[in-house]
């Protein structure tokens, strides 16, 4: 596959504190922070319904968590299905892969409509949180 290089974040996004990243194919190979994330913190983000919001739509290997979603594939095995870079792009801005996806853009502030004032100009997760979640999802092997 021919690798395509795209500059991730636009100038206005950079001004609002979104770090630039490089998309290669369907992945962002490099850490947004330049450092690996912490999978234990990632697990806490994923299962927190106010922070990660993941279990609203996804289910996962959490028998103790009630009320998991069925709108999206299970997180179980995500680390087998996807590489670290693929997971990162799917977190950052999954619409780049599939424009019709319902996966929210966790690290994008551009191209959104009527964002509530308290969230305007802010990403759903910070770069550090994205890296923690990516590090955690990598551990979800089949």
């Amino acid at each position: 596959m021919v690798a395509t290089l795209m500059l991730g974040a636009s100038a206005s996004a950079r001004a609002q504190g979104v770090r630039p990243y490089t998309v290669v194919g369907d992945a962002i190979p490099a850490s947004l922070t330049g450092a690996p994330g912490d999978p234990e913190r990632g697990l806490k983000i994923v299962t927190n319904r106010q922070v990660g919001l993941c279990l609203l739509c996804h289910s996962g290997p959490y028998p103790e968590e009630r009320f998991q979603g069925t709108m999206a594939p299970t997180l179980a095995g995500a680390g087998t299905r996807w590489s670290e870079g693929q997971l990162r792009l799917r977190m950052v801005d999954a619409a780049r892969i599939s424009p019709e996806t319902i996966m929210p853009p966790y690290y994008r502030v551009d191209g959104l409509t009527r964002v509530a004032p308290g969230f305007r100009g802010k990403t759903i997760l910070t770069a550090e949180q994205i890296e923690d979640v990516v590090a955690y999802l990598k551990t979800l092997k089949n």
Binding site: C57, R66, G69, M71, I102, P104, A116, F119, I124
Partner: protein, 262 residues
């Protein structure tokens, strides 16, 4: 290569059109379901029995308001409209309805307030106020069991279309549209809750989560809040257009007002 492209292009166009129509698929009329059908037996029973339906008190309040003289004109609703059980039968089922003077559709709340300001010379009732909810519940009750029958004609079509566009538009930090959940994923679970198709068959309704009666606009605000989107102001044209589209989408379904929902 060029020849192959010429062969592939129409096929590709068909595939793309199929994908586009899938993405914007509306629920077939025969497959529409009221949120009522997804409720537990206990909550259904609560709605079905007027003596246990917590909205019944508001309906009684509305009945009392119907005959109360208001404003500097000292007129009651009943002074012009007489017995609501006959004059208001089927009215709510047609709202939002086009108002020739305003050149746009009004919802039932706005229609009541227009009567208040113009006929009763009274101040409009605030959205979500006890009295406005009571009156809309009382009026809605007069259409209970009747089919939703908003009018789609040259006057209303542009507003139905405007509502449809709001329904389909991605909004908020989570970048979701109404359609993403209530058409494309209806029946799936959002956390533990089965997503309804979102037909406004029972408003105003008593929501156990609210512990009160509330309007459709209040419910729409809840969803916008969840999408991390900026809500519209109560009474905004966008809400009324969306209400009109949703009622048109639910055309023919049975009015349940005052409904009960979890």
């Amino acid at each position: 290569m060029e020849k192959r492209l010429r062969l592939v292009a129409p096929a590709l166009a068909i595939v793309l059109a199929a994908i586009a129509s899938l993405a914007f698929a509306e629920i077939p009329l025969s497959q529409r379901r009221s949120g009522y059908e997804q409720m537990s037996r206990e909550v259904k029973a609560m709605q079905d029995d007027d003596t246990s339906n917590p909205a019944s008190l508001s309906v009684l309040d509305g009945e009392a308001l119907w005959t109360r003289r208001e404003g500097s004109a000292q007129k009651s609703c009943a002074d012009c409209h007489h017995d609501a059980e006959t004059s208001m039968r089927g009215v709510s089922a047609r709202y939002p309805a086009f108002d020739a003077a305003k050149r746009r559709p009004l919802d039932i709340e706005q229609r009541i307030n227009l009567c208040r300001t113009e006929k009763q010379q009274a101040t409009p009732l605030p959205f979500e106020s006890r009295d406005l909810l009571a009156l809309t519940a009382y009026l809605g009750k007069q259409s209970r069991g009747m089919p939703i029958a908003v009018i789609s004609d040259d006057d209303t079509k542009p507003f139905i279309e405007a509502g449809r566009q709001i329904y389909a538009r991605r909004q908020g930090q989570l970048n979701l549209s109404c359609q993403n959940c209530h058409d494309d994923n209806a029946g799936q679970k959002l956390a533990g809750v089965e997503l309804p198709q979102g037909h406004p068959t029972g408003y105003p309704l008593y929501r156990l989560e609210w512990q009160s009666l509330g309007s459709l606009q209040r419910r729409l605000r809840n969803c916008l809040f969840g999408m991390r989107a900026e809500p519209y102001a109560y009474g905004a044209d966008e809400y009324v257009d969306l209400e009109l589209f949703l009622m048109w989408r639910a055309r023919g379904m049975t009015v349940e007002t005052p409904a009960v929902r979890p």
